[in-house]
Point group: none
Chain length 214, copies 4
DNA sequence: CATGAATGAGTGTTCATTCAT
DNA sequence: CATGAATGAACACTCATTCAT
């Protein structure tokens, strides 16, 4: 046992405990990059530095691995978001712009956003996954936006638009950015790339402006 | 020879000319429904009522078939759109709302829109297809929107926003609708479905309102 | 009908009569070049300028075509040889050398020699063809050589060697040349090519010299 | 664990190490018997007692398997030959006859000689294999014969013939025997079979006699 | 727990052969 | 007779999954 081992004891043991996480990490990368079908179990195992057999020790099938990846990658960010929104100080318009930018920085600009692309891409082949995603991610997310909008309307800051539809007006550009980033983005020359922060800012201002009584 | 034969002579010959179209139709259905990888060539052939060999007679490989489906399904709507826009009479704001609704009725609400979802889902596996799609579909489409926006700005109807970003604000909800329709949509209970026309109308009005000088 | 047609009347008709020959010609080329399995019926038809269906009109199967090619390409040269040998004037040694050179110029150096390579390559898959080849080609050929050798022995020009074995000593280099020409030859740099005439000459002289009483 | 296991421990492991050899053995049999195209991978696997997948675990494609068979079957005999020739005592004539007989017993009369027939049959479809064969097999073999001939000439035992051509005079009957054995041989009645040793002996003597100064 | 050799069902693709026109 | 569109059996190759070690 050398110095390094002394400084980080139980190295091997910690490794073992992280196994599932490392496998999910590797799988997320590959699923996002190549889609479900084009991702080979052996490649996932190789990227995680284990053998093919070990991967099946933790996840009984490719489909299970896929679902586990989606479930594991999704839950955390959503909960975080709810907490932070609660502490926001400012007008409803400011809140909405802030939420969109936060969403991008905390999730959209993250590797984890790849699973949104994944779910949208593969939902028709995995209906139960789509259901899970809607329940755990979309609904809570929509609720946050819905509340902010409703607050703006109730306070007389916004006009009395259809809140449900307005929610989608706020989510659409975010999901669009995510899809773009994971599909067409890599194929575009740099001068045609979208600047996410600038786009979100302007889009939010257009919407807030459009919503506002004048 | 019976009456039917007299009315449609050369049954086999007529069949032959329609083959490519019938095959592309069947392939579109299946690709949209199950994605590229999960679609089997034999199933495509079967749905078109021919044998596996016949399919390969017209398309030398699965990838070629896929690309042909994309090209065939997309080129028509794009060209149509450009023509119709040219004849529109009205303000820039009215034009934009009209364009969005038209896009939905002519393309988004059509089976063909499934290939937009397909391309976004599979772009990373078919880089050349992504390039084609960007060049032949996205760019022309963006140009139409860009012109409408610029006209509105030039005429003093709109504020001087970043046109490039505003283009995405107009496209995002349309692509979002398409993705939703082909992924989450089928899993949602009817009362949570999005009413596309209503959503587009309100979104367009929010944007136009947000863009307008007051 | 134009002048050309007047000069060569029945052009189409003559064409029809030659069909089998043209098909066999095309098939010979391809079989020799690529072997039985790698030759596609469609390619044979294309080279002969007819459709695939027409080819099957004349030869009921690929195997039949192959056998017909072999049979057609073989019979002629052998008969020719026998006639010419009968008129040769000179010693047994001179006759043998002359026969070998003639064999090369009349057959080995000809496209038709490709079928010898073919037969040797594919004999195990077409036993009946091997039998036919042995009966129609090898036996008559051997008989000519055998006679020449026996004559030399009877006349006291040659020593009393085993004639049957000596026949093979005369044939081996010729068949070797044919195989070489159709297999390794095309892959060899020119400076390593064998000069057939020089080789045959020296080989014949070595054999005749070795056979001779001194 | 029983006695058998103690005597041959790690049964599976031993199996694994032998796999490539067993597969090459099975493939050699079938390639020689049926040619490259007519040999099915599944049959090779079956003959080696493994599944189709296992075969592809060791050889990535049919072509690779074929090339591996050629290399494995040929390299050994060639190296062996070179060593043995170095120890030969006797005249150049005796050496040449001995070399021919050795070639037959060590290689020609062996299953491995089937690949010489294979290479000649398939060379045009596998140009790189032909190159390999020429470099690794033909050239070294020719060098041995060339040296023996040159030695005989230098020592005054042989006349000053063209050595390069004489080399072919020695190789031709050997290759002829191999081709015969694998093509026409099996179709011939026993009384027409060639006695290889007798044929080689007489051919060698004819050549040596023909080469000698008298 | 971990390994990696082995499996075999599944799929894209080819091509000899048929037959309606 | 000639055509060429259509067929479907056959085969190379892949990869998720298993299991003896």
């Amino acid at each position: 046992m050398n110095t390094a081992d002394l400084l980080s004891p139980h190295k091997r043991e910690r490794r073992k405990q992280d196994r599932p996480g490392e496998l999910l990490e590797a799988a997320l990368d590959l699923f996002v990059e190549k889609g479900f079908a084009a991702t080979r179990m052996e490649e996932v195992a190789a990227r995680a530095g284990v053998s093919k057999g070990t991967l099946f020790l933790y996840f009984p099938s490719k489909e299970d691995l896929f679902k586990a990846v989606v479930r594991a990658s999704i839950i955390e960010p959503v909960n975080q978001g709810a907490v932070e929104v609660a502490h926001f100080q400012g007008s409803a318009g400011e809140l909405l712009e802030w939420m969109m930018l936060q969403w991008w920085h905390r999730y959209g600009d993250t590797k984890a956003s790849g699973i949104s692309k994944l779910v949208m891409s593969e939902a028709s082949n995995f209906p139960d996954l789509a259901l899970f995603y809607r329940t755990e991610v979309i609904e809570p997310g929509h609720a946050l936006v819905r509340n902010a909008l409703q607050k703006g309307i109730d306070q007389g800051e916004f006009r009395a638009v259809d809140v449900e539809l307005a929610v989608h007006s706020f989510m659409a550009p975010l999901l669009f950015l995510v899809m773009w980033k994971h599909s067409m983005g890599p194929c575009c020359p740099s001068h045609e790339q979208i600047d996410p922060a600038a786009f979100i800012s302007q889009h939010a201002q257009l919407l807030v402006n459009g919503l506002s009584r004048h």
